[in-house]
């Protein structure tokens, strides 16, 4: 891991020294265990702040939108997929960003670790080969990284950056094709069971909009939720309004969401909102044979059509 | 326990279109329950939260003077959800009102002094209330010289035309009207309010200046007042902030350790200068 970190720092230092970029957006050490955080390096000697470990969970692509600087960006697989969609939607110009690609082994799910340790207070975490060692005041515990990855990292099929200007570190082995086991099993339940699960999850939402603000592809200047003229949706945590907010948020990402999981990681209450996006991605793949964040020249599914699109859902009297 | 969030029902008695682009209308409201009227004692410069049922609430300064009992007047410019809904309403419809809120102009301290009222565009409504309050028979002799400097973008945008006329015909009040852009049939001054203020050059001696209008007007009028060496303590501004509860709890209008809805909206320029806050204008 240190070789990777030094490589990232080296690239950043050169970029800044040669004035190729005004800022390098990457990750730095957090103030509490399990939290690395985004940082903005603007001078070569600050490059040593940059690090890389299993806690770089934010999607940095959210910072490139509406920023008219030349940017270097340390980007893992899902960050690059989001960048690709942003370039396709002309929110950022390709040569405005210098992408330092980092092959990713998946990020550790801090909420599940805390639940596992049932509120023992953690003082330090040390990541090793395939495991991580947690040290508290009066205990030590070593856990398998594979068992505590974020749900999005467990099903990730694009661990290596899809576009990059320079790759820091060797490519990792990709896991096999597009599968949506979680969605398929959920689809198997009855209407009532699905509705019960969906409304129970939605009842926990406190409308803090961390999911929307963490998502790199939610960049509208005024979100439909904030509009007041007309006011599309109620602002309180009324079940119907909250359910409709999540349905429309997911639908606005249909065929665009790259399943990076930033929304799920930002949600303070761990609500299963990603399931909605994955259902739409599964249908987009099945109906229009399109996967977001893979290729720059494929047109987004809802921005085009084909005469022989499926009509299975059309009602015939 | 009196509930400060309960709107009191009022009825629209009259709607007067004030400007040629129909964007500002003055609504005359009357209380449906008389006992509510007694509770609603207010001073010029205070504001109230008007509720359009089904749309929401918004703060508006009272344009009428407490010396005219029986009704309240609000001049409302069409900018947002509540104001757009209001502009579609007509006589007889029901609104809700909460208030009065805010400190209003300190008319007590103006007693025995000259007063210069400098207003611009839509911000003139509360100054009009104060002017009508001061020139009322029982009040007039409390105050010395009263000067009104009021400007708008074009003659068709001047509010309260009937009041302006009655004031101009009076001898005990000096009125200077100006427009940014001349128009046919306009005989008054042409120029922005700060320019006209420098031209009128009211004497700062024993005089209070009140400024209320769009942020740009305030920004350029204050240096003129400083040139005329008005001390900061004797310049008063009515700040425009987004407000909601009106009782210093919802946190929206918090600037420095003050709440515009309770400690304001009228502040002396001296007070504003030693507030650490984001720039309001």
């Amino acid at each position: 891991m240190d070789a990777l970190i030094n490589r990232i720092r080296g690239i950043a230092r050169d970029l800044l020294r040669e004035g190729k970029v005004d800022v390098v957006i990457g990750f730095e050490e957090g103030t509490i265990p399990f939290h690395s955080r985004p940082c903005f390096v603007r001078s070569p000697d600050e490059a040593d702040r940059l690090i890389w470990n299993s806690f770089c969970e934010n999607n940095l692509a959210t910072y490139v939108v509406k920023r008219n600087e030349r940017m270097g960006i340390v980007a893992k697989g899902c960050d690059t997929r989001a960048l690709l969609e942003l370039i396709k939607e002309r929110q950022v110009i390709r040569d405005q960003i210098y992408i330092i690609g980092v092959p990713c082994e998946g990020m550790i799910d801090r909420v599940r670790v805390e639940a596992e340790l049932r509120n023992r207070s953690i003082q330090t975490v040390e990541v090793r080969e395939g495991t991580f060692l947690i040290m508290g005041k009066d205990f030590e515990k070593e856990l398998e990284i594979k068992e505590f990855l974020y749900p999005s990292c467990q099903v990730c099929t694009r661990k290596n950056p899809v576009i990059y200007d320079e790759l820091a570190g060797e490519e990792v082995e990709e896991s096999v094709g597009e599968t949506y086991p979680d969605i398929e099993s959920f689809e198997g339940f009855s209407d009532e069971k699905r509705w019960q699960y969906f409304s129970e999850e939605m009842s926990r939402c406190i409308r803090c909009y961390a999911c929307r603000n963490a998502c790199p592809l939610c960049y509208c200047t005024e979100c439909f939720v904030d509009a007041s003229n007309p006011q599309w949706i109620g602002k309180s945590i009324d079940e119907s309004d909250t359910a409709l907010f999540h349905i429309m948020r997911a639908f606005h990402l249909a065929g665009r969401c790259v399943d990076c999981g930033a929304c799920e990681r930002a949600c303070p209450l761990g609500i299963d909102i990603r399931k909605l996006n994955r259902k739409l991605s599964k249908d987009v793949l099945a109906l229009f044979n399109y996967k977001a964040g893979i290729s720059l020249d494929e047109v987004a599914p809802l921005a085009t059509y084909r005469p022989d699109d499926s009509e299975a859902f059309i009602l015939e009297p | 326990m009196k509930n400060p969030y309960f709107p009191l029902p009022v009825r629209i008695e009259n709607v007067l279109v004030e400007t040629e682009d129909k964007n500002i209308k003055t609504f005359t409201l009357s209380f449906i329950h008389k006992e509510n009227e007694e509770q609603f004692r207010y001073r010029p410069g205070q504001f109230a939260e008007l509720t359009v049922f089904g749309k929401g609430e918004a703060p508006f300064g009272m344009a009428s003077s407490p010396t005219q009992p029986g009704f309240l007047e609000f001049s409302i410019s069409k900018v947002g959800v509540v104001t757009n809904a209001l502009h579609q309403m007509s006589e007889g419809e029901i609104l809700g009102i909460r208030g009065p809120f805010g400190n209003g102009y300190p008319s007590e301290t103006f007693k025995g002094k000259n007063v210069v009222l400098i207003g611009g565009g839509f911000g003139f409504s509360t100054l009009r209330a104060l002017t009508n309050y001061m020139i009322e028979e029982t009040n007039r002799e409390e105050f010395k010289k009263i000067t009104v400097i009021y400007g708008a973008r074009r003659p068709g945008f001047l509010l309260y035309k009937s009041d302006l006329e009655t004031w101009q015909n009076r001898s005990d009040i000096q009125v200077f009207l100006t427009v940014d852009q001349d128009d046919i049939g306009w005989h008054g001054k042409v120029g922005t309010v700060p320019v006209v203020t420098r031209e009128v050059a009211p004497d700062a001696e024993n005089t209070y200046a009140l400024v209320c209008g769009p942020p740009a007007m305030i920004k350029y009028t204050l240096p003129v007042l400083k040139e005329l060496n008005f001390p900061n303590e004797r310049i008063f501004l009515s700040l425009e902030m987004r407000m909601k509860c009106g009782i210093g709890k919802c946190g929206r209008c918090n600037i420095g350790s003050k709440y515009v809805c309770q400690d304001g909206p009228v502040f002396s320029y001296a007070e504003i200068l030693n507030l650490t806050s984001d720039d309001i204008f």
């Binding site: 209407d191 119907s240 639908f251 059509y305 699109d309 015939e316 009297p317 | -």
Partner: protein
């Protein structure tokens, strides 16, 4: 004393009909005196492509029991590609609403051309029967 008429519950259905085909089809059904249930409230839209998913969700939120969207048959759209784009959106939306648990029969999509008055009446009949069998709308309905 007449037996009090227990108000039999009748579903409320909203239909978004594209101005050039389906609305004309509905008009034709009316002119040719074809009978069809009166539960449907028709909203004319320029094209099925104009129907924003929010129109459907807003109706469901306000307690409408069934929503129908009908446009020109693919290839006949007055705006050439309106119904093609709509078709992709509705294909996703139909599955998606069902996925979260809304009953399958609440939202329907069809194509009715200007000459298909009979087809229009049959579609309305079928939609009304399906929605009536589902009973009053309960899910996603907002209570004041």
């Amino acid at each position: 004393m007449a037996e009090p008429k227990i108000e039999k519950w009748e579903p409320k259905i909203v239909a978004f009909l594209c101005n050039w085909c389906s609305y004309a089809g509905a008009d034709l059904a009316g002119i040719s005196r074809i009978q069809y249930p009166n539960n449907v409230r028709i909203i004319r839209v320029a094209c099925s492509g104009q129907v924003n998913p929010w129109f459907i969700l807003a109706n469901i939120q306000q307690g409408i029991d069934g929503v129908l969207i009908s446009g020109c048959h693919p290839g006949e759209c007055h705006y050439l590609t309106g119904n093609y784009r709509a078709r992709r959106k509705f294909a996703l939306l139909k599955n998606f609403l069902q996925f979260v648990g809304l009953e399958e029969g609440r939202v329907h999509f069809t194509w009715v051309s200007a000459s298909e008055g009979v087809r229009f009446a049959k579609v309305i009949e079928k939609v009304t029967d399906i929605v009536r069998s589902l009973g009053p709308a309960k899910k996603l309905v907002k209570r004041i």
